[in-house]
Assembly symmetry: C2
């Protein structure tokens, strides 16, 4: 058990000792879902001004509209009533720093089996933030399990300024 | 543009006007990644006592070890150096309230094409929290792209108390 493990458990003791949100209900109070990147510099609840219980937050490498992100969003809407979705990529994203081929090379340094396994994965890297937001909003907007009445917005979060900047073309596609 | 959209942009103006974290680096400072549920009642940074820049946070419906979550975790380790992973499911999870078949029925009420599409998706529902944590830690632990030196811990977050409770069997599997 290292320091990190102990620090987290100790911080959680502190958190639970002051916890006063036991009455929150399962469906997000503001009927909102956010899909964004796992990046450590993003705190979606804070940068969007949300309270505990307000919104579903889906995160993966890049904030990409993967099949699994769509699984989550469809559950979010059909079972728990969200009807506005914000798709948020960000500046200085790790997903812009490599391509599938470079990941294959990294894995090949470990072992042949890892290298082969890695070739069957689409790592969903990003070439250009604006295009990736538009691609992802478009994919979600046109998915057969996503009803037209859901509003979908595309944004880029700036890790240097904390600002959310809307990708307007994405909104034109995304707005119903 | 409804109230939610305007509220978020206005809250973000406030957030960015006070933003003083422009110097954070891309790799998570504490070399930590958390995989947890999208549930609105979970604020992983707060319940684990983390600061901006400390940890990758991956979230989906259930906090499940889906292929996409594994894609994200492998990128997190290989490119950005995380080496301790916390897999955190939670009490009163929406994923315990339905089975694949019920999702198929919900979608069948919309249209035949939606019903058919939905049958090709594994919704990754949960029957028992403890088992789902153990399954997910086991899947990640044994994934060919996950090196042995990564420490993996399994927890259940209690939405009524704010407490993280470790699933010990998961730790026995997960600890390297």
């Amino acid at each position: 058990m290292d320091n990190l493990y102990n620090d987290i458990l100790s911080a959680n003791n502190e958190y639970s000792s002051k916890f006063d949100k036991s009455d929150l209900e399962m469906p997000p109070a503001r009927k909102l879902a956010i899909l964004t990147c796992m990046d450590a510099r993003l705190d979606p609840m804070r940068f969007a001004g949300l309270s505990l219980g307000d919104a579903h937050i889906v995160r993966n490498a890049g904030g990409r509209a993967s099949d699994d992100a769509i699984r989550s969003l469809v559950i979010s809407h059909r079972l728990l009533g969200t009807n506005e979705w914000f798709i948020i990529h960000h500046s200085d994203c790790g997903m812009e720093t490599f391509k599938n081929e470079e990941m294959h090379n990294i894995l090949a340094e470990s072992s042949t089996s890892e290298s082969i396994e890695g070739k069957f994965i689409n790592w969903l890297t990003i070439e250009d933030q604006k295009s990736s937001v538009i691609d992802d909003v478009t994919r979600i907007r046109n998915h057969i399990l996503v009803p037209d009445e859901i509003s979908i917005y595309g944004f880029i979060f700036d890790v240097k300024t904390g600002e959310l900047n809307e990708v307007k073309e994405a909104s034109e596609i995304g707005l119903s």
